[in-house]
Symmetry: C2
Subunit: 142 residues, 2 copies
């Protein structure tokens, strides 16, 4: 598979040598058919479940941070108690389902350009993110 080479490429560009542990992390993060959102705890559990190798927490954190620095992962601040990370690094927005504690991507195309009619002198906008909180629609129709 050419996958392994992609992982090695990503690791090298992140300044990391391609080791067994790091490639395993890449497999979980980037081999998925779809992008996904995760916490470090969840990532460690996924690795444990689908691999026969153990990867220490330090390695997971270090690798995730290296990928973030390089732009291969994004952090989504949602919750003060725990970081969420996103393997979808394209510009996009999110629904956050408060009942299921679940992030759902909204493609950039599905949100009209956000027009902010205010500027801060000496500053320019670097990025704009929308978070729409959603809840069950118990439309008790009369």
């Amino acid at each position: 598979m050419a996958y392994a080479e992609q992982y090695i490429e990503k690791l090298r560009k992140s300044g990391l040598r391609p080791t067994k542990q790091r490639i395993k992390i890449c497999e979980v993060l980037f081999d998925a058919e779809n992008t996904f959102h995760f916490t470090i705890k969840e990532l460690v559990k996924i690795i444990e479940n689908q691999a026969n190798i153990k990867v220490s927490l330090a390695t997971v954190y270090n690798t995730v941070h290296a990928f973030m620095r390089k732009g291969y992962l994004k952090e989504i601040p949602l919750n003060a108690s725990q970081s969420y990370y996103d393997t979808n690094v394209t510009h996009h927005h999110h629904f956050f389902d408060e009942e299921e504690n679940r992030l759902i991507d909204i493609h950039q195309d599905d949100v009209d350009e956000v027009n902010i009619k205010r500027t801060i002198p000496g500053k320019k906008i670097k990025s704009v993110e929308v978070i729409a909180k959603i809840v069950s629609d118990n439309q008790s129709q009369k």
Copy 2:
């Protein structure tokens, strides 16, 4: 001043008796000419500086949480390592100045209604928040 009564009202509605410590917290939070953003650490420091009474961390956390439950304060998830709180509980958006680590309000009127062309079956949108990250505009004009 009628302020004290407002505070007592807010405390009572939050299920808390108006004590010296809690009223002091209200003074800092709600007497300000303008609304503001703070971390718990900052709030404790403000109280220490402007009061002759000491308020324990536990009381500050408990009171802030009670006010959040009641909707007198909002939490702004920005940073995985520390919570930011907002005394502006109207619907509004934010600039986040990444260089100065500072939140700036954007009034709802200054952002065109965010139109999301996507729905999740069985769910409805409860709130929509925009965070625009800003950085110095070193427009090196040629």
